[in-house]
Symmetry: C3
Subunit: 306 residues, 3 copies
């Protein structure tokens, strides 16, 4: 099943997205790039910018919004070469890192005695600069390994759904890794200006004992938040009716833009749909291509059915 879908949604865009840097707070360049891409690739889409978050709508009256966050984890260079976390990067000693939008200068992650991260090598960047993993994407058969697949792959799936769905809204949100701030902002605007009450979260989840790569995207029944059960039941019924492969995920921990929607004080339901990845927030995040195809196809099916 997965292999049949392999060709349905082109992965070209994913490589372009992985070539951008956007640690939380620093999403402006990616927003600019996307605005350009949207105007050439989906010319009938209407784009509204809120800070560096984007709301994209297509069709006269979309009934559902797909949320995909634009930001990644990273570090701020502090004093004395200390690296201060942006969100929760899970780096390892020796990982190559570089300043945003700058070439790799051979710097790596090191650890101080007090447990904080520091930079090894000459930073050639002023304190306050943002750093990201320098590793490049690799493809190995059905597997993609790259830093920041979370959430470049989710963003790819959301944009793939935009191209495929005549009536759809996207919320491309900032600062998910630092508190789902863009989700709260865009949810509120989508509620007030478009009357949208239904959302899907396009983001990556964890490859675990119970959710495995290669078996399709996961639909999350819960994480640290609990989605509204009647909406969840509706999504699960639609997913089952689709004939597409998917996995039912049940987690005690973790969160997503769904938590931001919950805290936006607007009436909007959400369910999380995402491919599982190995080694989240590391420089070696790893996904199965078939799960990305499943994720895009499932989003399209759900958006058209809701």
């Amino acid at each position: 099943m997965l292999s049949e879908m392999d060709k349905e949604y082109s992965l070209d865009l994913l490589w372009d997205l992985l070539a951008q840097d956007s640690p939380a707070g620093d999403e402006a360049a990616l927003s600019d790039w996307l605005t350009e891409w949207l105007s050439s690739e989906v010319p009938d889409a209407v784009v509204e910018r809120l800070g560096d978050s984007l709301i994209v709508t297509r069709g006269g009256a979309p009934k559902v919004a797909v949320f995909a966050h634009l930001d990644t984890t990273g570090w701020t260079l502090g004093y004395d070469k200390v690296l201060i976390r942006i969100g929760g990067p899970a780096g390892k000693i020796g990982d190559a890192v570089r300043p945003v939008r700058r070439p790799d200068t051979g710097c790596t992650l090191a650890q101080r005695k007090d447990g904080n991260w520091k930079l090894a090598g000459k930073p050639d960047a002023a304190p306050g600069s943002r750093f990201v993993y320098a590793a490049l994407p690799k493809v190995d058969g059905d597997q993609i390994t790259a830093p920041y697949l979370d959430n470049r792959a989710g963003l790819w799936a959301a944009l793939s759904a935009l191209k495929a769905c005549p009536e759809i809204a996207l919320a491309l949100s900032v600062q998910e890794e630092t508190g789902a701030l863009g989700a709260a902002l865009t949810a509120r605007r989508l509620s007030e200006s478009y009357g949208i009450t239904q959302a899907l979260i396009a983001d990556l989840t964890w490859d675990t004992k119970h959710i495995k790569r290669g078996l399709g995207a996961a639909v999350s029944l819960r994480d640290s938040s609990v989605p509204r059960q009647s909406y969840l039941a509706h999504i699960l019924a639609l997913a089952e009716g689709s004939g597409l492969p998917f996995q039912r995920e049940i987690e005690a921990h973790g969160g997503s833009d769904g938590a931001g929607i919950d805290h936006s004080s607007v009436p909007m339901d959400w369910v999380f749909v995402g491919a599982p990845e190995k080694s989240p927030h590391t420089s070696r995040e790893r996904v199965h291509v078939g799960d990305l195809q499943s994720m895009a196809a499932l989003l399209v099916h759900l958006v058209n059915g809701l």
Copy 2:
């Protein structure tokens, strides 16, 4: 004093409410039931539904809203019979639990070596199902013992106040146990659509060394949140003028729908009013009937006086 009030507010409704299941996220059936009940029992009340939260208004221009949360704690059945908490249930090994809206099948709470809860017995329910305590309410003289008196008793008091007050609003909120999400949502709507700036929180509090069952409802001077002092002083003065029994509670911890109102970014004051209970969040929550009468009478007095 308490004994005189015993007959003022009928407890019949409380038994009906205790017969419903509504762990956080799964309040739809209770909302349906209440909508029906309201249309027959308080036909002049106007009901607006936001997700599964309800806003109920009576009279042309209510000046105060009573918040009562609809949800309870519970568990989601995970993989391998693990039970994942919904909110903070305080179960004990051996407590009888059952799937929502299903009969007791003899399942009980057990504990895994890693400290997580699991289900003992045959769940006869799919992973993702919600579980609740199976214990039934008991009456023993002036005492009621039942799971989920928090917040069935608060909901009962709010609905009793609705019947008694010509001008009143209610916010019957979802997901209090998981972050007071429904309170933020309903506060915002009450502010924007009704101009309401004053709230009372109808919920249960703790029987402690300083707050005892049988001495009347508690008015909370603070918990982990600090209500606006000028509003609190006004409420305390009204409560003193009522001649009704009540206790002044001062706590360092705990929270309520008041925290949700605080985070809704609308100008709305609130004070917590609630009967104390023994053994909160267990299958054996315990309240004094007189405190419930005091709570309902105090809410009515405050709503009419504000």
Copy 3:
């Protein structure tokens, strides 16, 4: 440089502000006082009150709002003379404390075996009363030592900027110490009613190894929150162009009204500008007069330039 600025902004107002009490939740008297002061000192300013928060605007179309919180830390007197924290006061055993708006009665801070604070001496105040440090401000050369310079000094700087700027908005917010609640509220109103999308946070920060008193106000590149980088870059460029002394602060921890703005679900950028102080939240907070002058001058320069 700092010494030249010493006379630019009068400190008279600071002594008046330090003479007021306003632990979080209890800002009403200070709001009243400020409303009076504004009507006599800045008669063209328009004041809107939301609870005890104030929005002050000057000029027809202000483009930027300066946030300064009105509240301080403190304690609520509980049962058995226990003192329950309001926010995070950093008291020491023996510190003189008194009930709000009451003379010093010789009470001091003591500690219980369980680590909680208690009151030594006869409180002469009912449980539920709020307590604050009793120490009086002292001036010693260029240094001011006083409790609650956080955030009386920030409030002074914001009001100084109000007097100096023809087009400006202020958000004088409540409950910053208990969750930046007033910031969320006022940010939302400033966005909806005035279309304001730019903010500066006027508050005190920490004297550390890297940020020293006497070298000018700090502009924070980040704390536990990460401001939007494009706005931060704009602020830093304006600050550099001003010729005024300032320091670039990079912190991993701490928060301000900026976090409240982030959680208000409105599109509003913010950057923190504040004088460093020694011994934050103690009865001996200590600032350099030149840093206060730098802070006021920098705020004025930024407001006029944004």
